[in-house]
Amino acid sequence: MTAPLILDVQHLTKTFGGLTAVNDVTFGVPQGGIISVIGPNGAGKTTFFNLITGIYSPDRGSVRLAGRELIGLRPDQVAAAGIARTFQNIRLFSSMTAEENIMVGRHSRLKASFLDAVLHTRGFHASEREARETARIMLDFVGLGKWRGELATNLPYGDQRKLEIARALATTPKLILLDEPAAGMNPRETEDLKALIRSIRDDLGVTVVLIEHDMRLVMTLSENITVLDYGTKISEGLPHQVRNDPAVMEAYLGRGAAAGDYGKEAR
């Protein structure tokens, strides 16, 4: 891996009571990569994302984004530093329109104070215009232009996932974390999603880390895969290396099953 690391996680550990949810995980994401984190349910993948984004604070370890330490920052400060994310269970602002959802994501980047809004300054108008324009571009980018004025809750499921991605992208992140973006999508929607994720990296230059259970998507999209099980990193490497790692098969299928065929779909 020659590209410099944009995200550098060292010895990250988090326990809840007696349970070690994330155990001494070291993890690097090269600039401009598409990296997957996989593992059986309960392996600590989402906790791992929550630690990176400042929702939980770890017991030990460090998380650096382009060299800057993120541990100790609040979620809004992490977002300002350049990490955006989506959620396993969609968390849109359901009673706002698609456009407003994206404008919320955009506003954190704009400079206009409370007084500007009250006094209606020129800066305020400019920032509103900019936010609206960004919303339009982002909606078109993910293919949701027609849903602009629709309440988020009324969008079809697959489109809600895309809207969440658009909202995250509106914060102009360096890195986007996608938590099971393909969950609940049909094969066709998943194909669209794959193209969208590639485009996020290729056209927007945003590095992508995804948690995903859809192995076909993971294997064809990822440049590198990290496998977590019981909070510990058990494997890491290129897709074909991970696919053939006995430790991974064991984690998914149980001891003794490792000799069998490791299917496309592992849940």
Binding site: A80, A84, F93, S108
Partner: protein, 337 residues
Amino acid sequence: MDLATLLPFVVNVIAGGLVLGFVYAIIALGYTMVYGVLQLINFAHSEVFVTGAVVGFEVFRVLEANPMNGYLKLLIALLAAMLVSGLLNVTIERLAYRPLRNAPRLVPLITAIGVSLILQDVLRLIEGFQGRFDLTYTLPGGFSGKFCGEGSSCVALGDTLRSIGLDLQLKDVILIVVSLLSLAVLNYLVNRTRLGKAIRAVAQDRVTAGLMGIDSNRMISATFLIGGALGGISGVLFGMKFGTVNAYSGFDPGIIAFTAAVLGGIGSIPGAVLGGLALGVIQNLIGVTNIFGGLLGIANLESIDASYQRIGAFIVLVLILIFKPTGLLGKSNVEKV
């Protein structure tokens, strides 16, 4: 008993109810906005409101002898009350509620009641040092008179109102105008500005809002500032309407406005306005039940007079909680995961 005598009477009762209802509506907004972002009933809001009334009293008292325009005095009173009540509300949140942000919900609720009691006595002390308890508003001349009496500049409008039988005082009209302006500004702030969007985002999902780069603590402070400022406005309006306030005057209108917020659907801004107006009208109608009884010749109703007004609000509260706990415009609880 003919319709021609009854109708103007009913119209005036309803108009009076709406005037009162606007005061309740503006107070109710303070409860509902704070509930929206924190799911906390800010019981101290009734004292934030009374603080506004006291500030209004002080401004009118200090400026009593000043020859400046009455409307200018009103504007100063409103701005001063907004500032003091708004900052007071922000301070309460910072000192009393924020440290308990992650405590069980009952804890900040009890704290809110405690803050309410503390503020009542602090207010009584402040005015008590100056030998005052009941504070009687000294309104600029004309504010308490008939709306557009003879010889004033808006006789035409006054005549129109009188010709349809509306018997309003100038201060009632001022109250309605100030309320409508406040509602318009609030609506703009919440629905058309990025501050409003950020507050709504925090209200809907604080964690996600944080991940979108929104500092939820700042937005919660902003909400308390806006809610408190509205409390200040309603305090001045209340003082103008009823003439006299004291440190304990917040309890009654506070609890009725809280009922209004629940009636409309707590957390809902249009709901708070609707609930406030509805309760104002209901209260006024109950207050004249005895007169209706007399007019209609139903003896049993004649003993129901203004002293039953407060019961009306609570009957409404009980009925709402039984039959539509989410309120008129409230949404059923969104599933949170």
